[in-house]
Subunit: 213 residues, 4 copies
DNA sequence: GGCTAACCGAGACGGTACGTCCAGTCTTAAT
DNA sequence: ATTAAGACTGGACGTACCGTCTCGGTTAGCC
C-alpha cells in the first residue's frame, strides 16, 4: 500500500521535493509530468496510462496535472508534441529516394523511440474523443503539407510531371504509413532474405501519380 | 456518463426475464448481450462501452458475459463480426468501377450503420490489447483476400496486366480506407459542388499498378 | 433481499454531499458510515450487513470504507465499540443486588438497543475470522475485569469471603449472559407470572463462590 | 481457474460417477455431500463453506443439494447431527467426577474432531438465521435434558440434596462450555504446570447448587 | 514589508467499473 | 422421479482510477 517511494522517478540528484515557485506554473513540475507520462506510455502502453499513475511517477499531485491539462487526451497530445520535434528532413536527390528514405526513417522513429507507442495511443484516443480527433487532424494536415513539399520538390526536379495528382499521392502515402503502424507492421526490413515491400509501395504510387498527369 | 436511468432495458413488451434453458448456452441471452453492446457502442462510443453497462442494458448478469467473452475486446470483436456479415459484393464490369463502388459502399456502410463506430473502436482497442491486434490482423487478412479476388478478376478481365503488383495495390487501398475512417473523413460525396476525391485515389492506384507490371 | 430502494440515504434535510476536507479523514463520513452500519445491523441483522449496503445507505463510496476499515469485521467491531460506551455502572449495596442489577440492565441493553444484534454478530463473526476472535477476547477480558472489580467490592464489603474463587465466578457469569444472548433468551422478565430465573442463577453462583473459599 | 478436476474428493476407488437410482433419493449422494461438507468445514471453517464448494467437492450438482436441504444452515445442522451421534456417556461414581469427565471429554471432542468447528459454525449461523436458531434451541434442550439426567442421578446418589436448583446448575454448565468453545479456549489442560480451571468451575457450581437447596 | 494570490504536494472524497465468487433457480439428458 | 451438470440473473466482493476538493505550505508580486 505504501511503497510509493519506489514509484517516483529515479532522479540522479537528491529528489529535491519540488514545490511552488510562486503564483505561476512551475516548469520543473511540467517537465517531470511529461517525462513520467512518456515513460509510462512507452513501458505499459495506453492501458497503463492513467493520470493517477503519471502523478505517482512524477511525484506530482493530481490537481497539478488537472490544472494544466484538462484530461488524459490533452496530456497525451503534449507528450507527442514534445517528441515529434525530431523532424525528419530528407534529400537524396530523387523523389523516389526521398520518399523511401522518409518512410524508412519514420518507421524507424516509430519503432525505436517511444513516439510510435505514443502516436498509436493518440490515434486510438481520437476514436472516442472529438477534441483529440481535431488535434490529430490538424497535426496530420501539417505533416501532409511537409510531404507535399517534398513531392513538389520532386516535381520541380522533373521526377514527376507538373500536373500529377499530388493530393492523392500524399493521402495514399499517409494511409499506408498509418496502417502499418496500427497493425504493428513496422518491423525493420530484413535486407538479406526478404525484399522489403516498402520501395514497391512507393514505386507503385509514383508510377500512378506520373500516369495521372 | 451518468444517464444510467436510460440504460435499463426498454421493457415495453413483456419483460420475460430470461433464465437458463439447461446446461448449455442460452442464445436469447447471447443475442440480447450483443444487441445491447451494439446499441451502446453506436450511442455513446467506445468510452461508454463497459461490461457493466452492457449487462445492465441487456438485462444480463455480468458473469454471463464473462462466461462467454473473456474481456471487453472479445465482445467488441463479436459485435463487429455480427455486423460485417453484410458482405459487400460488387461487379460493375470494370475493375475501376468495382473498386470505386466497393469503397463507396464501404464508406456508406461505415457511415450509416453502427459498424463504423464499432470498427473504429476495434482499431483503437487493438492499440493496447495484443489479442485484439491479432484478431484485427486476421480479420484484415481476410478482407484483403477478398479485395485481392476482385483485383484478380480485373486482371483476368484484362483491366490490369498479369504481372501487376497486386499486394501493393491491395495494401494501399486498405490504408486509404482506414485513414479516412480513423480521421472521420468518410462523409458522403457532395456530387454537385465538390468532385469526390475517391475515384481519383482509385485511378492513381490502378495506373500505378498497371505501370509496375 | 431486494428492497434496495429503501437503502438510499434519507435526505430530508439538505443532502449536502460530503466531500474531502483535505488530506485527512473526514469525521462526518466516518460517523455517517458507522451510523449506517448500525442501522443496517439492527434492521436486517448480520445477513444484510454488507459493505455495499453500508456505503449505499451512508452515501459514501466503497473505497472510503475500505480506506479506514480493512474488512467487514473491523467495521463491526467499531460499531460495537461506539455503542458500548454506555457503560453499566451499578451499586446497590449488596453484591447479589449488584450482579442481578448488572445482568438485568445488560439484558435490557442488549434487548432494547441495536447493541444486542451487534454483539451477536460480532461473536458470530469471530467464529470464522481470527482477527475478530482476538478483538473479542480482548474486549471480553476488559469486561471481565470490570465485573471482577464489582465482585472485589463485594468481598471488601464482606458479602463474600476473601478467598472466594473469583475467576470461576466471573467466568460463569459471562458464560451465562452469553448463552442467553446467543439463544435469544433475554426477554424481559414477566414479573406477574413467571418468576425470573436470573436471580436464581446469581444466587447459586454466589453461594458456590462463598463455599469454595 | 478451471482445475475443478482437482477439487473432487480423492476417492480411493475409481470415482464411479454417481447417478440417479430411479425415482428416489440416492443415499450415496447424500453421504458424499455430508462428507464433503464436513471436510470443508473442518478445513476452511465457516467462511469457505458454500453450497458451491460442497457441490464441487462432492461431485454433486447444486440442485441435488437444494432438493434435500433448503439452505446452508440446514446442511450445517445435518453435518453436526451426523457427528454428535458420538454421545458422551459417563459414570465415574460421583457427580463431581461425572461432570468434570463430561466437560473434559466434550472439550476433547470439540478440539480433536471436526465437531468443534461445526458447532461453532452452527451457533454463528443461528445468530442470523431464525430457523437455525430454533434448531439450535431444540438441540440444546435435548442436551440439557441429558445433563439433567446425570445430575438427577447424582441427587439419587446423595451427591446433592433433592431440592437443589437443577435448572440453574444445568444452564450455568452449558454457558461455561459454550463460552469456552466460542472464545477458542478449549485447549487441553497442561497437567504439569497450570492447574486446570475446569474442576474449579464444576466445584463452584456444585457447592452453589448444594447451598441453594 | 506585510498581504494576497496562485502554485505546489498530498491525499481524502463520492463514484463507476473492473473481474470474481457465490446464491438460488431452471432446464436438459441420462438413468 | 431423481441424478449430475451446468447455464441463468443477480448481488456482493475488494481494487483501480476517475475528477473534485481541501489542506498546509511556499513563493512571488503588489500595495
Amino acid at each position: 500500500m505504501g511503497e510509493h517511494s519506489a514509484d517516483v522517478a529515479p532522479k540522479g540528484k537528491a529528489a529535491p521535493r519540488r514545490t511552488s515557485i510562486g503564483g505561476r506554473r512551475n516548469p520543473a513540475s511540467a517537465s517531470a509530468i511529461l517525462e513520467a507520462a512518456e515513460a509510462i506510455l512507452s513501458e505499459t502502453g495506453l492501458a497503463g496510462f492513467s493520470i493517477e499513475a503519471v502523478a505517482r511517477r512524477a511525484g506530482a499531485g493530481k490537481p497539478t496535472i488537472y490544472r494544466w491539462w484538462p484530461n488524459r487526451s490533452a496530456l497525451l497530445m503534449d507528450v507527442y508534441a514534445r517528441q515529434k520535434e525530431t523532424v525528419l528532413r530528407v534529400d537524396t536527390g530523387t523523389l523516389e529516394g526521398d520518399l523511401v528514405e522518409l518512410l524508412t526513417r519514420l518507421f524507424a522513429f516509430w519503432r525505436d523511440t517511444p513516439a510510435g507507442a505514443t502516436f498509436r495511443s493518440i490515434i486510438a484516443e481520437a476514436q472516442s474523443d472529438p477534441a483529440s480527433l481535431a488535434a490529430l487532424q490538424s497535426f496530420l494536415a501539417d505533416r501532409r503539407a511537409y510531404v507535399g513539399e517534398v513531392v513538389a520538390r520532386g516535381i520541380a526536379r522533373g521526377d514527376l510531371p507538373p500536373k500529377a495528382d499530388l493530393p492523392s499521392l500524399v493521402e495514399l502515402i499517409f494511409g499506408f504509413a498509418w496502417m502499418r503502424l496500427l497493425t504493428g507492421d513496422i518491423a525493420a526490413p530484413d535486407a538479406d532474405h526478404v525484399p522489403d515491400a516498402l520501395p514497391a509501395r512507393v514505386r507503385l504510387l509514383l508510377r500512378g501519380a506520373a500516369a495521372t498527369a
